[in-house]
Structures are given as structure tokens and as C-alpha cells.
């Protein structure tokens, strides 16, 4: 597979009262064309910020993003706009991300108009109607307004808008988190179908480990602004190497009462502040394996097995059970 996007040493810091918030710290990875890369982590781990950095929606403090071999930071104005056509985003809240005063048709046509796609407004309107159909909505919905739709339908509208410019990469930021279970499955199927039909590449950001497992070819786990583990989906879920990943997987309440285990080790404590993050490994204050080295020296993201990267001084062995 060919590399579509590469992030190199991305850093995002925000000045805050009393210091600097280290939201994303030295993150590097790549996304292959046609794959779905899952990005999981708990709130505040920097996963959404990372998504926005990739699209240059917010500027990085340092680091670079390469898209199809070109350095995005070198693009300005019109050139940046045309690069952005290839990269779109779908957001969590289908209520907040659609302008309530615009008809569905206008919402989908907006990017088409902005980029002067097609030869006439009539042609763009026709393209918008086609897009509605492709996301499973009726062409007649063109003249309706967002409030006339359910949450799942609104998310479909958001997807149609993201597809309008025929992008290669879509960054999906918690696209099904606000939806009911039965609707969530419909949207996940739609995303799979669109990927198969159009050869789309997804970065799928979510806190839901089951959803990420289902959709992703590879998965990145983030903790406090850093990648702690990155691997193919099966390896990551079946034999995680980073203690944090193991805890995270064990925390998910599974819909099967036979899997209850009240003796299971749980992660204790609360995440530390990103303003003055712990020295060494940022996970060390909550890690049962932490020793002097973990408190002093930041672990690099090292390749433990082919394609399996982990940033830990004491990675778990295969199927090791936490005690």
C-alpha cells in the first residue's frame, strides 16, 4: 500500500494560566491509502486535536504533515484550499455541525460552490441530490432543513457534505458517539460501504474500543498527548503490549454477563494534568509496573514485533495477565 499521509513529530502546545498545556507531544505515524486507522484514547488525550492538526485546521506548534508526499505547511491560500479538497472531516455532533438556517441542499452544495465544481448551480444541485442518494437519503430531502431529520439522518447529511468534493481521506471524529445503538450500526455500515465503493481512507477517532475494533485495520492508542501503542487491530486487541492499552481494553463493559469479573485489575486514579505532565513516562503515576527508570526517562515508541509499536520500558508479554 502507498502512504497517503504522514505526521512527523507533531507538537501542539497551548499557553494556559500557569504554564503550557502539552496537548500533543511528538506524534509521528502514517496512514496508508485505503486503510482505516483507528485512533483511541480517553477524553483529553489529544486525539481530536491531532485530527485537526492533520488537516491544518489549527496550526501545529512544530512538526510536519505530509499528504501524498507534499508538505502541507508549505501550502497557503488557494493551494491549501485545493489540497483540503482531498481531506474532509465528519464530526460527532450532527446537531451542532449543520447550519440550521440552511437547507440540506445548500449545506451539501456549499463546498461544491466554494470550490466552483461543475459548470453551473443546477449541475451542483444535481450532484448534491446524487450525494443524498449515496448516503441513503431521498433526493427530495434537498429542500428540507436539519431540524426535520433524526440524529442518524443528520449524520448522513454530514457524510454527504464530506463526500461532496470527492476526498481521498476522511477524518471521522466520534461520528457515531451521539447515536443510539441501532442507528450507530447503520452509519458504520454506510461508512464501510462508502470505503469499498470509493476507495476512501479513514482516520477514525473514537473512545469506543468496540467500534474501533470493528472498523479499523490498524489502531493507535493515545495517552496524554502521546502514542503509547500502535499496531494492527488484531494484535492490539489480542496481545496488547502497553499496560495502559491492557487496562483500557479490560475496562470496556462487555455486553455479556458471563464475562463479568469483579477481581479484574482496574486502572486507578485520574489522568494527570497536561500542563505539568509527569516526567519520564506520562503513564507512570498510574502504572503498576513503574520503576525509577519510568519516572526519569521517557520511553520511545519502539517496534516490538513487525508493525507493532509500543512506548514502554516494561512492555507486557503475550497475553500477560495484569496482577
Amino acid at each position: 500500500m502507498a502512504e497517503l499521509l504522514r505526521a512527523e513529530h507533531l507538537v501542539k502546545e497551548f499557553p494556559v494560566k500557569g504554564g503550557v498545556s502539552h496537548v500533543v507531544t511528538d506524534v509521528s505515524f502514517s496512514i496508508e491509502k485505503g486503510e482505516t486507522l483507528g485512533l483511541v484514547g480517553e477524553s483529553g488525550c489529544g486525539k481530536s486535536t491531532l485530527g485537526k492538526l492533520l488537516l491544518n485546521l489549527i496550526p501545529a506548534t512544530s512538526g510536519r504533515v505530509w499528504f501524498k508526499g507534499q508538505d502541507l505547511s508549505r501550502f497557503k491560500g488557494e493551494a491549501l484550499r485545493s489540497m483540503r479538497r482531498c481531506m474532509q472531516m465528519i464530526f460527532q455532533d450532527p446537531y451542532a455541525s449543520l447550519d440550521p438556517r440552511m437547507s440540506v441542499g445548500r449545506i451539501i452544495m456549499e463546498p461544491l460552490d466554494a470550490h466552483r465544481v461543475g459548470s453551473s448551480a443546477a449541475e451542483r444541485a444535481e450532484m448534491a441530490r446524487d450525494l443524498l442518494e449515496q448516503v441513503g437519503l431521498r433526493r427530495e430531502f434537498f429542500h428540507r432543513y436539519p431540524h426535520q431529520f433524526s440524529g442518524g439522518q443528520r449524520q448522513r447529511i454530514g457524510i454527504a457534505r464530506a463526500l461532496a468534493l470527492n476526498p481521498e481521506l476522511i477524518i471521522c471524529d466520534e461520528p457515531v458517539s451521539a447515536l443510539d445503538v441501532s442507528i450507530q450500526a447503520q452509519i458504520l455500515n454506510l461508512l464501510s460501504d462508502l470505503q469499498a465503493d470509493r476507495g476512501l481512507t479513514y482516520l477514525f477517532i473514537s473512545h469506543d474500543l468496540n467500534v474501533v475494533r470493528y472498523l479499523s485495520d490498524r489502531v493507535i492508542v493515545m495517552f496524554m498527548g502521546q502514542i503509547c501503542e500502535m499496531s494492527t487491530t488484531d494484535q492490539l486487541y489480542e496481545a496488547p503490549r502497553h499496560p495502559y492499552t491492557r487496562f483500557l481494553l479490560d475496562s470496556v463493559p462487555q455486553p455479556d454477563p458471563l464475562l463479568r469479573d469483579e477481581t479484574r485489575a482496574l486502572l486507578t486514579g485520574e489522568p494527570s494534568s497536561t500542563v505539568n505532565p509527569p516526567k519520564g513516562c506520562r503513564f507512570h503515576p498510574r502504572c503498576p509496573y513503574a520503576d525509577a527508570r519510568c519516572r526519569a526517562e521517557r520511553p520511545d515508541l519502539a517496534e516490538m514485533a513487525p508493525g507493532h509499536f509500543c512506548a514502554c520500558h516494561h512492555p507486557l508479554m503475550d497475553r500477560e495477565i495484569l496482577s
Binding site: 480517553e42 443510539d180 445503538v181 450500526a185 472498523l215 485495520d217 463493559p253 454477563p257
Partner: protein, 334 residues
């Protein structure tokens, strides 16, 4: 009968909406029993009436809501017929509630510790000093680190997980007989959710209280509940103990919900989906409310409303053709 802490019988609750004469029926004849000391799950998707059911019983409906009929028997007394003053007493002392977003239930301008101790003074009749000491104990008990220091923190200075711990502490402070938890972990990260669920279990074991767990998350149900009620479109459609429900769910809706979870489905394989959407409260199908979305619906389902029936061992199901059973006109596996 004696063994239930709360029994809701045939509850009907309606809502008025702007500029309409007819009222929408949000809860349509719900029966729920919560055995003493157990955790009962009330599960369903948004708008199914699960929260309205508990708010009705607690007398906490918004102004446009009204209980049309039914009873809610708590220790021999019908909560729906109690005068406000009496009901408020029970709500403070014997039944506690926690909600999804603790920020909306905590007073933003009063330190959290003080809020706990005020609850103790108001409902427990303690003096100031005792209440403060007791509050710090409670905060420690629910896992708030550095409880003495946190006592003086305002809600916004705590994380979501800590705020929910404070809420649980406050709810537990008066040793209630029943804790109603409405999506208590929905806004929390999974690692914090796991901690909170375990905390609730431990506290329950120590105090013997009963819990009504209202949630949309089947994982949470499987993790913590002893028995489960599944609601759909304002009605209970299935009731069973938690093991029976996940092993032998009988209602096509429950089955669809469980099947549509991306659990072990391999990538590339389609997820099961329940077609369509929940019906409008003002335009309910005449027969089974799930019929328009049901793969198994036949003529009878469209015409005749199914009753909630015992399909064996107290497993209740509202369906003319329950999944996987021989009786009740079952027609094989859909």
C-alpha cells in the same frame, strides 16, 4: 410483593407540547418491580420512556408532563398520591438519584464538601462539625483522593469522574433504600466508568440498598444488573434476569439491539441493523409498536397489540412470535 422495594404498576405518563391539544403518551402502562437489594436495569434507546418512568415515580416530571394513571408503591405507600412534602422527604432520605451529568445536579458556587455536609444536616439532622467530619469520610469512601483538600473545591475544579463520585457520595450519604442512577457513567471515560460501576457494586453490598440502573448501554447492563427491563416506544417489551436476557433474548427488538453491537464482528462483515427509526409518540402503530421495524412481523402483529406474557420462568416478552421459543406461535428463527 413484600420483597420489592419499589413496584410501579400500569404507569401512564403524558406530555403536552406547544400548540397541540392532544397529549403525547411517553410511558404507556409500564410495570416494574425492584426486589430489595438487587440491581434492576431499565434499558432502551433515546425517547423510549426509561427516564420518564423514574421521573414520574419520583414526582419530578417537568411542567408539561403528567402522570395519567398508575401507582408507584414504595414500602407500602403510593408515591404518586403522596403530598409534595412527604414525597420530598422520601426523595431525600430513602430514595436518592444520580444523573448523567453531575455538573447539572451540583451547585456550581458551593464547595463540593459543603454540599455533601448540607445534605447530611438537612436530611440527617447532624450538627455542623459532625456533618463535615462525616462528609470527608464519605468522600474518602467513594474514592475522592485527598478528600480533606477536595472538600473545599468547587465542582468545576473536579474532573467528570470525581464529580460523579461526589454525587454518589451525596446520594449514599443518607443510606438510601433505593438508588436511582440515570445514565451515571455515560459521560465518563471507560476506565472511570469501570471504577464507578465497581464502586456502586461495593457500596450496594455493604448497605444492602437496591439500584435502578437506567441506561442505553447493554455493556453496563451486563456488567452490573441482576435483572433487566427492556423498553421500546413507551412500553416494556421484555423482562428477564440478566443471564437469561443475554443468552435467550426473546423479543426481536432486544435481539436486534444486541446483534447490532460491534463486538466480535470481523471487519468487512456487515453489522446487523434494525431498519427504520422509532415511531412518533403521536402516531403509534395500531398493533405491535415494533412491527414496522420487525423482520418477523406478520399480519397479526400489525393488527393486534401483543401483551407482555410469561414465556417461562418469569421471562416476560411482548411479542406474538418470540424468538427461539416453541410456544406463542413462534415461527422458527427469523
Amino acid at each position: 410483593m413484600q420483597d420489592n422495594i419499589l413496584e410501579i404498576h400500569n404507569l401512564v405518563t403524558s406530555f403536552a407540547s406547544d400548540g397541540r391539544k392532544d397529549r403525547a403518551i411517553a410511558v404507556n402502562g409500564v410495570d416494574i418491580a425492584i426486589p430489595k437489594g438487587s440491581t434492576v436495569g431499565l434499558v432502551g434507546e433515546s425517547g423510549c420512556g426509561k427516564s420518564v418512568t423514574s421521573l414520574s415515580a419520583m414526582g419530578l416530571l417537568p411542567d408539561n408532563g403528567r402522570v395519567e394513571s398508575g401507582e408507584a408503591i414504595f414500602c407500602g405507600r403510593d408515591l404518586l398520591k403522596l403530598p409534595d412534602r412527604e414525597l420530598r422527604k422520601i426523595r431525600g432520605n430513602r430514595i436518592s438519584m444520580i444523573f448523567q451529568e453531575p455538573m447539572t445536579s451540583l451547585n456550581p458556587v458551593i464547595p463540593v464538601g459543603k454540599q455533601v455536609s448540607e445534605a447530611l444536616r438537612l436530611h440527617g439532622g447532624m450538627d455542623k462539625e459532625t456533618a463535615k467530619r462525616k462528609s470527608i469520610e464519605i468522600l474518602e469512601r467513594v474514592g475522592v483522593p485527598e478528600a480533606r483538600r477536595r472538600y473545599d473545591n468547587y465542582p468545576h475544579q473536579l474532573s467528570g469522574g470525581l464529580r460523579q463520585r461526589v454525587m454518589i457520595g451525596m446520594a449514599m450519604a443518607l443510606k438510601p433504600d433505593l438508588l436511582i442512577a440515570d445514565e451515571p457513567t455515560t459521560a465518563l471515560d471507560v476506565s472511570i466508568e469501570a471504577q464507578i460501576l465497581r464502586l456502586m457494586r461495593t457500596l450496594q453490598r455493604e448497605s444492602g440498598m437496591s439500584i435502578l440502573m437506567i441506561t442505553h448501554n447493554l455493556g453496563v447492563v451486563a456488567e452490573i444488573c441482576d435483572e433487566v427491563y427492556v423498553m421500546y416506544a413507551g412500553e416494556v417489551v421484555e423482562h428477564a434476569d440478566v443471564y437469561a436476557l443475554f443468552r435467550d433474548c426473546a423479543h426481536p427488538y432486544t435481539r436486534g439491539l444486541i446483534a447490532s453491537l460491534p463486538r466480535m464482528t470481523p471487519k468487512g462483515q456487515r453489522l446487523y441493523t434494525i431498519r427504520g427509526t422509532v415511531p412518533n409518540l403521536r402516531a403509534m402503530p395500531a398493533g405491535c409498536r415494533f412491527a414496522p421495524r420487525c423482520e418477523r412481523a406478520c399480519k397479526r402483529c400489525w393488527e393486534e397489540k401483543p401483551l407482555l406474557q410469561d414465556i417461562g420462568n418469569g421471562h416476560l416478552c411482548r411479542c406474538h412470535a418470540p424468538v427461539g421459543t416453541n410456544g406463542n406461535g413462534g415461527e422458527g428463527n427469523g
